[in-house]
Symmetry: C2
Subunit: 341 residues, 2 copies
């Protein structure tokens, strides 16, 4: 509504002076700045983002969160908490959140490219990082500010990320179950080459190797991340194998939920017959019976940190890249117990 020119006219100044005063530039005396700021306040002046954006070619005032369709985060409470955290990380910076919801079938990379070239956002937040991720490569080469939630496999790439330490957590889960006497392990994992799959698997393998116990066996079962029927079938196969594993680690909670369900339908009791441990601590994990033992990595604060890191990327592009590895906390519930004898 009110423009810089209105302020200038009212004060008998030029638009340039008002602009500079508001931006806190040099060579504007404190008294003038104060008058200008007071009037701006009074008139409810807010800079026109479009105009600012146009002149500078930067500063759209938006941080884009890229979400892809299958799933989006629909699985559980995750997204709401994540957005809440991001909001807090961006608060007070004048940067708003823009949701780039990518329809199924559209190339995520082309949408990202479009956002970058049209400057629809000043920076991006990427989830679902895969081991080799063209989005990351592109954004680095374009020199565009971004932060990923999750990593790519290659080390040393110049980008900022926040991730949870799946390797440590899965090693901890293995050790916990080993200590309870379990020797026949199974890991339920996914087909998609997400980086977290690598890290979490690595945790189990490392812990196993450290034990060096020849009695320990591990079978790895793979299923699709999204196809429900295929998931059920894979779990079913795993639970009817002979010999049956007694300790099941799943890559994330919703897979563990499948295990709980199939076990129930097979009249296997958890944790008496099999122990199950998940990862993520989704809301359902607490509601399930038995309650699911899992790992919690505080989505809210990790999202907040992601937001803060992005702000830093945007505002001081030359600052060093940051990264944050969060150690998830084991949440003990009732889905694990001593190995059956």
């Amino acid at each position: 509504m009110a423009t810089i020119k209105d302020i200038a006219r009212a004060l008998g100044l030029s638009a340039s002076t008002v602009s500079r005063a508001l931006a806190g530039h040099d060579r504007i005396p404190e008294a003038t700045r104060a008058r200008i700021q007071a009037l701006a306040q009074e008139m409810g002046y807010a800079p026109n983002r479009a105009a600012q954006n146009l002149v500078g070619g930067r500063n759209s005032g938006f941080a884009g969160l890229v979400l892809t369709d299958p799933g989006y985060g629909r699985e559980d409470s995750y997204l709401g908490e994540y957005i809440s955290g991001l909001g807090h990380g961006l608060a007070e910076t004048g940067i708003d959140l823009f949701l780039a919801a990518i329809p199924a079938g559209q190339s995520e990379l082309s949408v990202i490219r479009n956002i970058v070239t049209t400057r629809r956002a000043d920076g991006l937040i990427l989830g679902r990082t895969s081991e080799v991720d063209p989005r990351v490569d592109y954004l680095i080469s374009a020199g565009f500010p971004f932060v990923t939630h999750g990593r790519v496999l290659a080390d040393g790439l110049p980008y900022s990320w926040v991730d949870t330490d799946g390797t440590a957590a899965f090693a901890e889960a293995f050790d916990l179950l080993y200590a309870l006497g379990h020797r026949r392990f199974a890991l339920l994992t996914i087909e998609e080459p997400m980086t977290f799959r690598h890290h979490r698997t690595e945790g189990v393998l490392q812990a196993m190797e450290r034990r060096g116990d020849p009695e320990v066996s591990l079978t790895i079962a793979t299923t699709s991340r999204y196809d429900r029927a295929q998931r059920q079938e894979a779990v079913h196969r795993m639970l009817t194998a002979d010999p049956r594993p007694t300790a099941i680690l799943t890559l994330f909670d919703s897979l563990a939920m499948n295990v709980l369900q199939v076990a129930e339908s097979l009249s296997l009791s958890v944790p008496e017959d099999i122990s199950v441990i998940g990862y993520d601590n989704i809301t359902s994990a607490a509601m399930a019976r038995p309650g699911l033992t899992t790992f919690d990595s505080d989505t809210f604060s990790s999202a907040r940190e992601t937001g803060r890191m992005l702000v830093e990327r945007i505002q001081t592009p030359d600052a060093e890249q940051q990264s944050l590895l969060i150690r998830p906390k084991l949440v003990l519930r009732a889905s694990h117990g001593p190995a059956p004898s």
Copy 2:
């Protein structure tokens, strides 16, 4: 990157012609339009939103989804599914989703006012409507396009909304339990004057009245929507009352979850001792044991319709206001059964 001027220069035309051709205006011969469009395609031209916005004062290209902090939708899978649906409703319109995440303690109304005056969005989507909602009043008076998810209590206000038919659903729930022999009912509700509270309560009261059975009793217990401890306590009081209700209706699923938990801690079995019915069909409702009987209102498609309605509001502001009342489907699980004798 590529601008309209680049195209004009390359074709020996003026910027005006290119602009008009791309916008599909009159008085541009088909042949010229085709040439222009082809080159635009080839050069990867995308209009600069900031410039478009600046000239027209409209058309920021964003639809704002207003989310307030306590909760946001963190409770369950709701938000992810909702956003997914909205994305589909806005797809192909060139309108992106902008998240107005309102920090706790900030006035939602002032944020909305700011968005409207700075034209940061072309339209808004509002959730959490309360019986009397100043946001709705303000947006109507400002003539700003918006759609609410939920209604206000007053009828006949000129705005578009999408809501679920809580009245019908709660009447159905009552009837179901009545038919199973239940006579001592309880309704667990919230303190906040949300409109859905009114409608859902109304459903129970109406069904009760229709029966006109003097043996039926209904106690209504009220608790805070967000305070966990208070919720537990209210549920505890309800389940230790004498005589204890045998049929418990809760305003939404997460309250029903509380009932399930407290019942378990009191060694009451569901559904043998008490029946519980929720509303919303959150993910945990399926995972809980016993599975929660509840109502599902297809968040995804109602969000998609909300998105479509907003597009209509934005593009044809003079079109009639629309509304959509969705009849939720009863999802039968294991948390309800015959009244204990």
